[in-house]
């Protein structure tokens, strides 16, 4: 269940996600949509492995090997990202394709060199540099004595502490320093930034270097900070792609990256939780599922029709919009009651049916008034019921939530949570 060891493990999983996300935030804030995170993780993993191995064979010094390993990984990650930088900034190539190629190349390099060095093993003692002798983590004096939090947060892998420090430094960088402000300008409006005598291309390059370095720490973590002693094929296991999703979730803020990666870590681990099989009966009532799906489609249809030409739907919509203050809490209450009855009344059929009817009515009204909300609520409800039925669906959670969050953000006009405006667009000064 949701006990100590669950959280400890969740944080372990969140470490590479955090590095990946934080690094990608740096590149995306400067306007570069770099999809190659997975490749950087793989390449840096293999090079940190080789670096540590080489130094250990030569000197038998575990700490030195660990340090050199991490540095080698960072150099590899930075160099790989430099290829991307040159091709997208100097040669103005399409960022999406270049990023994907970088990922393919990086994964290829990682597996290629890894397989070729399949025979080499690292001693467990290297990972103990990061995990402490008890293999449960390096404890911070005093703080680790706090019940529960002490063992979850303050007796952790060294990489976690490095990550926290990086998050704090990044937060300071983005909010309190001059280059941090400049990079925001570069990402939002490079033309304006250039007219303020900011060298846009220089900023993009530098941030891609930083991004490469930070993401490579995830690779080093996989090989050195865990209990891997040999090369594992595809050691980064898709975490690079999740990190890209995380960036959106984190609203391009370092603090968000920390919270988001722990949340995603917990999500990825959540399928190990025990579920209440009785609840699964909700899903087995096919008509409930069908009704929810119908409502979702209805939302779409009503949304299209009421947005285009004027007809009876837009008239109702206008009337409802006028009643906003009363309507919104009323509808929300109805929806909550409906869902509540549905889920908690799972033992009694009638309750479920009543719940579904109330929910449907509320949804239809919502559709006319604010279809986006209705759609979002219905999709989330459907997904939650799916997860209750079979907890393996929770593995999808990071991706589903990213899609929902991104759709929501892109549709709204609120400025502060939006992505950097020039994300993915090549910058060209003398455009006439």
């Amino acid at each position: 269940m949701l006990n100590q060891s669950f959280f400890i493990q969740a944080i372990w999983i969140s470490i590479p996600l955090l590095f990946g996300c934080l690094g990608t935030i740096y590149s995306e804030k400067s306007g570069m949509l770099n999809l190659g995170t997975e490749g950087i993780m793989m390449t840096s993993a293999v090079f940190s492995f080789l670096g540590a191995y080489g130094v250990y064979e030569a000197s038998n010094n575990v700490v030195l090997a660990a340090i050199v390993g991490v540095i080698c990984g960072m150099i590899a990650g930075v160099l790989l990202n430099m290829i991307y930088a040159v091709i997208t900034i100097v040669f103005k190539a399409n960022q999406t394709v270049t990023g994907l190629t970088l990922a393919t190349l990086g994964i290829g390099i990682g597996n290629f060199i890894g397989k070729a060095n399949n025979d080499k093993t690292l001693p467990i003692s290297i990972s103990e540099v990061f995990r402490g002798h008890a293999a449960s983590g390096i404890s911070i004096p005093v703080l680790s004595k706090i019940p529960f939090i002490g063992s979850v947060l303050f007796t952790q892998n060294l990489f976690f502490y490095i990550a926290i420090i990086l998050v704090i430094l990044s937060w300071i960088y983005f909010t309190k320093t001059r280059p941090g402000l400049y990079v925001k300008a570069v990402g939002d409006n490079p033309g304006s930034a250039e007219s303020m005598s900011i060298n846009v291309n220089k900023y993009k390059f530098i941030h891609l270097i930083i991004a490469g370095a930070i993401i490579s720490l995830a690779g080093s973590f996989f090989m050195l900070g865990y209990n891997n002693t040999k090369w594992l094929e595809n050691v980064s296991n898709g975490y690079g792609w999740i990190a890209i999703a995380l960036v959106i979730f984190s609203s391009w803020k370092p603090g968000g990256a920390l919270l988001g990666s722990v949340f995603f870590g917990a999500l990825l681990l959540s399928f190990t939780l025990k579920s209440n099989p009785a609840l699964a009966v909700i899903f087995s009532k096919t008509y409930i599922v069908l009704i929810i799906l119908v409502i979702i489609s209805l939302c779409f249809i009503i949304y299209f029709k009421s947005n285009n030409k004027s007809n009876w739907l837009t008239d109702i919509k206008d009337k409802l919009a006028g009643q906003q203050k009363i309507l919104r809490p009323l509808l929300l209450a109805f929806t909550a009651i409906g869902i509540g009855l549905l889920i908690f009344g799972y033992k009694i059929n009638t309750l479920m049916i009543i719940g579904i009817i109330i929910y449907s009515v509320a949804m239809v009204a919502f559709c006319l008034y604010k279809p986006m909300y209705a759609l979002a609520i219905s999709v989330i409800l459907f997904y939650v019921i799916l997860c209750i039925a079979n907890k393996d669906y929770l593995k999808m959670a990071p991706y589903v939530s990213t899609v929902l969050v991104l759709s929501f953000i892109s549709a709204r006009k609120k400025a502060s949570n939006r992505p950097p405006q020039s994300l993915g667009i090549p910058y060209f000064r003398e455009e006439r």
Binding site: K176, T177, R178, D188, S197, S416
Partner: protein, 504 residues
Amino acid sequence: MNNNNLLSMHNVTKTFGDVIACNKINFEVRTGEIHAVLGENGAGKSSLMNIISGIYIPDSGKMFFEGNQVKFQFPKDSIKLGISMIHQHFKLIETMDVLDNLLLGRSSTFFLNRQRAVSFFKKKAAEYKINIDLDKNISDLSMGEKQLVEILKVLSMDPKLIIFDEPTTVLTPQEIENLFVVMRNLKSMGISIIFISHKMNEVLEITDRITILRKGKSIVTKDTIAVNTAQICEYMVGQPIDLHIKKVTTDFTKTILELKGVGCVNEEGTKVLDDVSFSLRKGEILGIAGINGHGQKELCEVIAGIRHIQDGAIFFHHKDITKFSVKEILREGIQMSFVPEDRLGMGLVPHMNVVDNVLLKDYYKKGIFLDYSWSEECTKEIVEELDVQTSSVYAPISLMSGGNIQKVLIGREIKTNPELLITAYPVRGLDINTTLKIYSLLQSQKQKGVGIIYIAEDLDSLLELSDRLLVLHHGKVMGIYDPSKITKEDVGLMMVGRKLVKNA
């Protein structure tokens, strides 16, 4: 070098492919003066300013600042020397607040000290009598307030020369007054100002000297007190050319198009069309004069169905087409053609060949498969009748010269036998032969009974060709006149905002 001159430019030239933006321009600005630069669109003002501020690199010529020769590679080179520019389209970052935008300009330390910055900017603002709230988000400010932020940002870089590019276009009258107060303060502090504008009364009110550009050349520089509006207009529009247009007359009476109280707001929230009303008869050419950017583009787009309007209505043969999109106009069988200002960006697809581009007008007819028969016939006719020079009609259209591209565009639009033809700047950038050909084309269409809206910058052609002339200023109709009863100077004055006193 003249020691009074802060900035001087000698024989500066800048070309973009075939177009000569600046043609051996000589220009100078003294210390502590407000110097206006006037000229129609395409006269070279923006290019000249971009060269001064380091955004463009000139092809040839010399530039001197404070007595030393300078060559700018980046905008920051000019900024370092003390030249700043406040653009017409503000270079502010919408997602940040005022303080952050100000910090973009000035900050030499690694760590931002917001407290210190706040007091610094509050002091500077008080010095120049600028009133803004530093905490507000840029997206919440009015245009006037945004401009004040730009000015404050520029001031924090200790400029010696500030270029204001059409600063009053987006301001309310009160905000304009405020701006002038600020500008006088700047002048008293010894900062020189280059003031680019189209509005005569403002130029006369605030400036010390005026330089007039026309077609890329600098025509004249005079002290403001030594000129009057009539002279300025004459310099701007030049001597009349005899276009040998033999005007034809028609006697149709039916009204084709009617606009009533049309108002339109653009994406940035500015009103681009304000209470526009007029009607167009069959077989009539309605000329529309006005400085570029005063609503002509939007006017065409609202009639063609590309843009929505917020107020008013549009009628075609008394049928309400206000809410019609382009597709609906086509479907209803309304014969309307539009030759847009942006030929390769809107009217045509640059990388496709001529036949494909002509097909754009015809492809939507019934059926799944494309039918090139009309398009190929049409292309052959256009090439023959308009004498289009091209190696092959199957080569990308972007390889053709500007004149030939325009011939294809106009030819295509005419081939559908429209009842209403909207043309925006149809002869811009074309040689004299093609220009005359297009004029005669318009006349022959007029004789057939086509109602034509003719938007142009060249006042001579407008006066010669139009049956009636509408003058547009900041989206408002200044008046509709009989061209035979009006002079070029009158039109010029209306274009810059002066209302005409005599009757139409």
